[in-house]
């Protein structure tokens, strides 16, 4: 590990330890925050007792579905928009402003369209995540060096071979940045919808625990989400870094 990596570990560990001490000494009342060690044991109990596996699976399935849909559709839409410059110049300012629109408010519409349950939540998450993928696709296709297109011509490639052997690998590092963001937003979209609107999933379980003053369970579940996101992020980041390393400096 790099020096920075070690420092980071120490910083995080110190923050956790500080919180532990603050809670243990009563400086932060346990009715507000419970000590990290208690969060960890709570998480352990949740996983072992299996009480929340249903919720966890529901959430993860929704995240996976939303992620896959957002990435796939986002890439397609991005590629189509990229091929149609007038559409692109019209849509781009709106894409840039997209995150300002509170997506969650359209939940009732999705319920009408997709019915109650995972589908509506997946739809919200896709809506939240897809723009990152569209933007990344546009950027990726833009950044394919023109000279590679000329090279494909010199090698007398057809359009299909060119798309798969030149365009796709050349745009890949940028596309993957989109993948990373799309997964993060899929997570946010699913968990947040569950939290505010739904009756199932990890998000709901946290809201439920909060409503029933069950701080221990609430913090256990929160820790679970933090851990999950960190793992997913770290894994995607590792791939990302390898792809980015290929980009010309």
């Amino acid at each position: 590990m790099t020096r920075e990596g070690w420092i980071r570990l120490v910083v995080v560990a110190a923050a956790v330890a500080a919180l532990e001490i603050a809670c243990r000494t009563g400086w932060i009342p346990t009715t507000v925050v419970i000590p990290p060690s208690a969060m960890a044991t709570s998480l352990y109990d949740i996983l072992v007792s299996g009480t929340h596996w249903g919720d966890i699976l529901v959430s993860l399935r929704s995240v996976a579905a939303a992620g896959v849909l957002a990435i796939g559709l986002g890439f397609l839409v991005g590629a189509v928009i990229h091929a149609l410059p007038p559409v692109r110049s019209a849509a781009e300012p709106l894409l840039a402003s997209y995150y300002a629109v509170p997506t969650f408010m359209f939940y009732p519409v999705f319920i009408i369209l997709f019915g109650v349950g995972s589908a509506a939540i997946v739809a919200i998450a896709v809506l939240l995540a897809i723009v990152a993928m569209i933007s990344a696709t546009l950027i990726g296709l833009d950044r394919i060096p023109r000279v590679l297109g000329k090279t494909a011509l010199i090698m007398r490639m057809g359009p299909v071979e060119r798309a798969f052997r030149i365009s796709l690998p050349a745009a890949m590092p940028y596309l993957f940045t989109g993948v990373k963001l799309a997964v993060a937003y899929a997570f946010i979209g699913v968990i947040a919808s569950e939290f505010i609107l739904s009756g199932a999933g990890m998000g709901y379980a946290i809201a439920y625990a909060y409503n029933n003053f069950n701080n221990r369970e609430m913090y256990g579940l929160m820790l679970l989400i933090v851990v999950l996101v960190t793992i997913v992020n770290t894994a995607l980041d590792a791939v990302d870094r390898r792809l980015q390393a290929r980009l010309r400096r």
Binding site: P145, R146, V147, T151, I154, I166, A170, M172, R246, R248
Partner: protein, 277 residues
């Protein structure tokens, strides 16, 4: 100028030895005659002898790359005819290799895979690919980096990967568009040595576009000097070098003469360009 050199010049007009022929080639971007159209090039008349090393120098934006695009079949002349090996150029002709000014190595492939790319597509058998790639990689001084990715190489080494990738297909006409533009002058001259070696070994016809006068003067049999846009040849200088030559000829007294003559021709043209911004 040596007698041998003069004899070679005479040869160019011999029809059986004519490898490339451009006659009255012009290229206009946009619809000709409209106010937005750009007359980029021509009219150009140019014959290249089989096995000749020809360089093109000219001020920035004069149409050098446009000329190369026409020869590579990437761009159709607006007027005039372009021929390669006696056949009109329509689409990218077989037997032509191009090294572009920009780094065109594939960043997702290793050096060896980059060089093997064209051969694999052509369905050459594995043993033959390995042999040819090995040779080309070694020739370009990249042996130690065969497994490396382009991002791990310097700009000059990446350009060498592109040259190897082109060379391995054994083109009969090699077009090079400022291939060493990214390098400093000293490295460029050394790369020039390797280019000369390559040219001697393959006996391909080479057309090199460059903005470095010393490079043109040292490498070429003939140097064409282009005017500011629309580019036409305002001078073609015979260097009269032996086939066996390398960068040491820069201290040859004739080298200074050639460079001086090129510079004299270009100074006015470049000044025009500079004043335009």
């Amino acid at each position: 100028m040596t007698v041998a050199a003069l004899a070679e010049v005479a040869d160019v007009s011999a029809v059986e030895d004519r490898h490339v022929r451009l006659a009255g080639v012009t290229r206009v971007f946009g619809r000709p005659g409209t106010p937005k159209s750009v007359h980029a090039l021509g009219p150009i008349d140019l014959d290249l002898r089989r096995g000749e090393f020809f360089s093109v120098v000219g001020p920035s934006g004069c149409g050098k790359s446009t000329l190369l695009d026409v020869l590579a079949g990437l761009s159709k002349p607006t007027e005039g005819t372009a021929e390669f090996e006696g056949r009109p150029i329509d689409g990218v002709p077989a037997g032509v290799g191009v090294v572009f000014q920009e780094d065109a190595s594939f960043p997702w492939l290793t050096v060896a895979d980059n060089v093997a790319f064209g051969l694999r597509r052509a369905g050459v058998d594995a043993a033959e690919i390995a042999r040819r790639v090995d040779y080309a990689v070694g020739f370009m001084g990249l042996k130690a980096f065969a497994g490396a990715y382009p991002a791990q190489l310097s700009g000059g080494m990446r350009q060498r990967v592109c040259i190897a990738r082109t060379l391995v297909m054994q083109p009969r006409l090699i077009l090079l568009d400022e291939p060493f533009g990214a390098l400093d002058q000293q490295t460029r001259l050394l790369m020039g040595d390797e280019l000369l070696r390559l040219w001697r070994e393959t006996s391909a016809t080479v057309l090199l576009i460059t903005h470095a006068l010393d490079e043109a003067a040292m490498l070429s049999d003939r140097v064409g000097v282009m005017s500011a846009r629309p580019g036409v040849f305002i001078d073609v200088v015979e260097t009269g070098w032996e086939v066996e030559r390398d960068s040491r000829i820069v201290s040859h007294h004739r080298f200074g003469d050639i460079t001086g003559r090129l510079w004299e021709k270009l100074r006015t043209e470049s000044l025009k360009h500079l004043r335009d911004g």
